[in-house]
Subunit: 201 residues, 2 copies
């Protein structure tokens, strides 16, 4: 049986999203049919011209409203410009902001080094970071890329690029996550937790 074309088109579009397979796509498509019309209308509207409605901060490359030169955080004089936290993408900024403990500024790389996918240093916002640090006034750069192969390689590369600039370069701590279980921790996490053990205060 063939589905009506409008539904099939919707399923095809939904299937292109990450984490949504054929089954979830059909389930979602049929949900739209049953649900209030406002649901599909709102989603359609917020998707239309999405990229034109947002811009990237010219300093930290975080997302911001279209027409803005710099994002709210970069423009906030209360934020400490001497400490820069380097992140893979804008979602990581959200995660950091949520804990509310970081008062410095950010730098969003917009990706990680990934030779297999052909993503090299020039595809990321690494050069603007080096220039930003070279302009002075920065005392610490926290490399907060993800604890993955790509994240580590990217941090290593950036660390080398920043080495000559006389700033302190740090990396987020590795170890057991809160609520985790020693027994279920993978070997690499447990090894890092052991190597990074700290004196009890």
């Amino acid at each position: 049986m063939l589905l009506p074309e409008p539904i099939q088109n919707l399923i095809n579009a939904l299937e292109r999203l990450p984490g949504i397979g054929p089954k979830s796509a059909s389930r979602l498509a049929f949900y739209f049919l049953r649900a209030d019309e406002s649901l599909s209308a709102e989603l359609a509207e917020s998707l239309t011209g999405l990229k034109d409605k947002i811009a990237f901060c010219s300093e930290c490359f975080n997302i911001t409203d279209a027409g803005r030169q710099r994002c709210e955080i970069c423009e906030n004089p209360k934020r400490d410009a001497s400490i820069i936290c380097v992140l893979e993408d804008a979602l990581d900024v959200l995660a950091l902001e949520r804990i509310g403990a970081f008062q410095g500024k950010y730098h969003v790389l917009q990706g990680v080094l990934n030779p297999i996918e052909g993503i090299g240093p020039d595809d990321l916002k690494i050069r603007p970071l080096v220039e930003r640090v070279a302009r002075g006034g920065v005392r610490e750069v926290i490399l907060a890329t993800n604890p993955s192969m790509e994240g580590d390689a990217t941090a290593l590369y950036i660390g080398q690029r920043l080495a000559a600039l006389g700033v302190s370069v740090t990396r987020l701590a590795r170890g057991l996550p809160m609520g985790g279980d020693l027994e279920y921790a993978d070997q690499s996490t447990l090894l890092r937790a052991l190597q990074g053990r700290q004196e009890m205060s």
Copy 2:
């Protein structure tokens, strides 16, 4: 930090979808930002006026293209009209069609009885089913609602309504699913499998 409004709107719309929590919603929203413009454009287009583009078959209540009176299956003279498979929704029709073993016709209830949510017999396409069977020419009705409390209650109710019409009323078999493991089967499934055991041929 506040997200740019267009992104926040998109996240809010995505969060209204079933199975998509706040985290998946933000991840998806940022995916749209990075991905090719065609992704959001296609999805927006297929969502716009979705409900106006499709219709329900006047005989079996399966979905079909707008402007059509009867669906492809109901109009297909090769399908056996003497056997009707009763399903909860149009997705179930897809599932049955996929196995390719059923050559009869369908009847989509568009839901199940659910007293807690206030869904009674008149909210479903039960009356049209009874009328359809009463018009004659039907010898078997397969009640293929889901093997759940609501599905069973709905099948029981429909079975009683059809009792006087002299048709054979059947229900899909219960038992262990293929590839399942006896050890992990829930008690109720195992009980059904035992009760429904069959002579080896």
